[in-house]
């Protein structure tokens, strides 16, 4: 009976996705997942049992999509068959859809033996996803203020994570009682950012934790950015830093209780951020040291690489495919993707919260050749309706750096005002709420052969990316 219900929901989810695509409503992941879960609320749990290699969850404020992508490429290079949810499909319905569309009409996943689920999970969805999927490992990238209207405050998110981890079964195969056990006898492995105090605290009192972090004094910013959220220790005292890399991420310690940044098993040193389009660092992990060259830019991608490598280490993947995958890394959806349009190179940098935007700005500043920018601020549900966060991002660091700036999106005027108060030259700023018009204006302001930096929030990125893909002659994302 349960099996019949699972098969019916798989079939319904597939049909819904097909219908959605026929109607050109996009990838159809949300609707198919909703349909499937409506028929069988336990669909995710039921289908995930077909993942012969179990699964890994990736959560946190920033870096989920790229970390997920890197880890899946590592798994593929190691001979596994990763199943990944598409960017943006990181709620339960997205997981349901991903699993249902990968299942045959008999409900079994193809290539089941080698199947490893690598799923990015929304911060608020993590507790439910942990319970339903019983992953082998959970990766926490970082925790920053993000969409306060939707998630609540940072402390509330951290508290929900702690409660969920306290409930997580020690043995991922326990409780299901039947079906292919993924990795019986193993405790849930945690993969934690040692440099983020709120994330590192999740590992207290647990074994089977792999920490990752950066060891590079020359990256010390010397001061905490305004967009720092975890300034107090678990004990209540104010944290001190030996090095601040970004936000509240760095080498922290508590002068009162002696807690300190855990020593990371997976770390990066001798980091060279180059011109922000690629980077180089020395990777140290339990498997040894390796020189890594990556085609992604910015310090935040060093952290993404470390998170994925630490997860691979926790899963027991060998070193060679891990470094191979890092060397071959390509940009994830809307995250440093580049498009050739009318002889200009348009680079797309998704930024959706102060910490992420600060990292994008720091990355853009690495290349003085970036002279024109298109910034887009939307206030859709997926962006967060409250746009006051732009005042917490340090636009001041880029004052005077761009010769022409087009500001767009549903809250273009708010963003333009922010730039004005960050002392960007008002005469270089054009306000054009329509994203299509804004793209034309920004392209016109960019000389042929030059590079246009586009920095949109989430829903603005979806619109902009579709326009860019069309102009550059690429297929829509659900056909890739």
């Amino acid at each position: 009976m349960a099996r019949a219900r699972t098969l019916a929901s798989v079939w319904a989810a597939k049909t819904a996705a097909l219908a959605s695509r026929r109607l050109r409503r996009g990838g159809g992941t949300a609707i198919s997942g909703l349909v499937g879960l409506g028929l069988n609320p336990g669909l995710v749990h039921d289908l995930a049992r077909g993942l012969g290699q179990g699964c890994v969850l990736v959560t946190g404020t920033n870096g989920k999509t790229t970390t997920t992508r890197l880890l899946s490429e590592m798994a593929r290079a190691a001979g596994l068959s990763p199943l990944v949810n598409a960017s943006g499909s990181n709620l339960m319905r997205g997981l349901a859809s991903t699993l249902a569309l990968a299942a045959g009409h008999d409900g079994a996943l193809d290539d089941g033996e080698r199947r490893l689920g690598v799923f990015e999970v929304d911060e608020a969805t993590l507790p439910l996803a942990l319970a339903e999927l019983r992953p082998r490992a959970a990766v926490f990238t970082n925790l920053f203020r993000d969409q306060l209207d939707r998630y609540g405050e940072v402390d509330a998110v951290a508290a929900r994570w702690r409660q969920a981890l306290a409930r997580a079964p020690a043995d991922p195969s326990s409780g299901s009682g039947q079906g292919p056990s993924t990795s019986s006898g193993q405790r849930l492995a945690l993969v934690l950012n040692a440099d983020d105090p709120a994330v590192a605290a999740l590992g207290e009192g647990r074994d089977n934790v792999t920490y990752f972090g950066v060891d590079d004094k020359k990256l010390d910013r010397g001061h905490l950015e305004h967009a720092s959220d975890s300034l107090s220790c678990v004990c209540g005292a104010r944290l001190e830093y030996d090095a601040v890399y970004f936000g509240h991420v760095g080498r922290w310690r508590c002068p009162a209780c002696g807690r300190a940044r855990p020593k990371p098993q997976v770390s990066a040193s001798k980091v060279n951020l180059k011109d922000g389009r690629s980077l180089r660092f020395v990777l140290a992990s339990p498997a040894g040291r390796a020189n890594v060259e990556m085609g992604l830019g910015g310090l935040y991608n060093v952290y993404n690489a470390l998170a994925a490598t630490a997860a691979a280490s926790a899963l027991g993947l060998p070193q060679a495919p891990v470094t191979d995958a890092l060397a071959a890394a390509a940009a994830a959806f809307g995250r440093q993707e580049a498009f050739e349009v009318d002889g200009r190179r348009v680079e797309l940098f998704l930024a959706k919260n102060p910490a992420g935007l600060n990292q994008v700005l720091q990355t853009l500043l690495l290349d003085p050749g970036r002279k024109t920018a298109l910034l887009a601020l939307n206030d859709g549900i997926a962006d967060g309706r409250d746009v006051s966060w732009v005042w917490d991002a340090d636009f001041e660091v880029a004052a005077g750096r761009f010769e022409a700036v087009v500001v767009s999106g549903t809250r273009a005027a708010d963003l333009a005002l922010r730039l004005k108060y960050a002392d960007w030259d008002e005469t270089t700023i054009e306000v054009e709420p329509d994203i299509g018009e804004a793209l034309e204006a920004a392209l016109a302001a960019t000389p042929a052969g030059a590079c246009l930096s586009a920095v949109p929030t989430y829903t603005a990125m979806l619109t902009l990316r579709e326009l860019l893909a069309r102009r550059a002659g690429r297929a829509p994302f659900w056909q890739q």
């Binding site: 405050e153 720092s228 005027a413 005002l417 108060y421």
Partner: protein
């Protein structure tokens, strides 16, 4: 008068800063600078005392519950009396979001615990309970002779409180100038502010009005 000076005390800038609150300070700084007014901003952190006559303007922003508990204790012990005295003496005060709550007599949190406030305003705030819908969204209020985007609050003497979080002043340039004028009048007996080019400010203000 030559190069007037205004002294702004920013209460707990690193703890009470969650919702873009620093936009208010950035706004006052720029609007003063463009008028040749030297706005000197001083951070007032935990444990530091407060002299009632030391500042012309005082600002406090919003925070998470954890920080608010720490701040409430410090506010009542180290700064509350001086803050009330300053406000009685006509100092300009702006409290936003959690800062507004803490400027009242007390705040009762979701679990029923009470945080004593500074008592600048004769009001108190009750959390509707953990299960209650969070009150969020963009808001517009009409106040005196102009509309304020994102404003709901109280006034006592030159002290203003808004429960609406975030950068209140950038999108309400008339209100920002009102605060500067009040501070100048109190200190120098007169205030004439040269008009500024507020085209972008008014565009953002109008966009918020349209979004109602």
């Amino acid at each position: 008068m030559s190069e007037p000076t205004l002294r702004l005390g920013h209460l707990y800038p690193s703890l009470m800063n969650v919702y873009g609150d620093r936009g208010n300070i950035t706004c006052l700084q720029r609007r003063c600078r463009l008028r040749g007014i030297d706005l000197q901003v001083t951070s007032l952190d935990l444990g530091e005392g407060l002299e009632p006559e030391a500042f012309d303007l005082l600002f406090i922003g919003g925070a998470q519950d954890r920080e608010q508990r720490v701040v409430a204790a410090d506010l009542t012990q180290a700064k509350g009396a001086a803050l009330r005295e300053a406000v009685e003496d006509g100092a300009v005060f702006l409290g936003v979001c959690g800062g507004y709550q803490l400027a009242g007599r007390f705040y009762r949190g979701a679990a029923g615990e009470e945080l004593a406030g500074a008592g600048v305003f004769d009001l108190y705030t009750l959390h509707p309970g953990a299960g209650a819908k969070r009150l969020i969204g963009n808001l517009v209020a009409e106040w005196e002779d102009y509309t304020l985007v994102g404003f709901e609050g109280a006034r006592y003497r030159n002290a203003f409180g808004s429960y609406l979080h975030g950068p209140l002043l950038p999108k309400n340039p008339a209100f920002a100038d009102r605060l500067i004028s009040l501070a100048l009048e109190r200190r120098y007996g007169e205030a004439t502010l040269a008009p500024l080019d507020d085209a972008l400010e008014l565009q953002a203000h109008a966009a918020a009005l349209r979004g109602r």
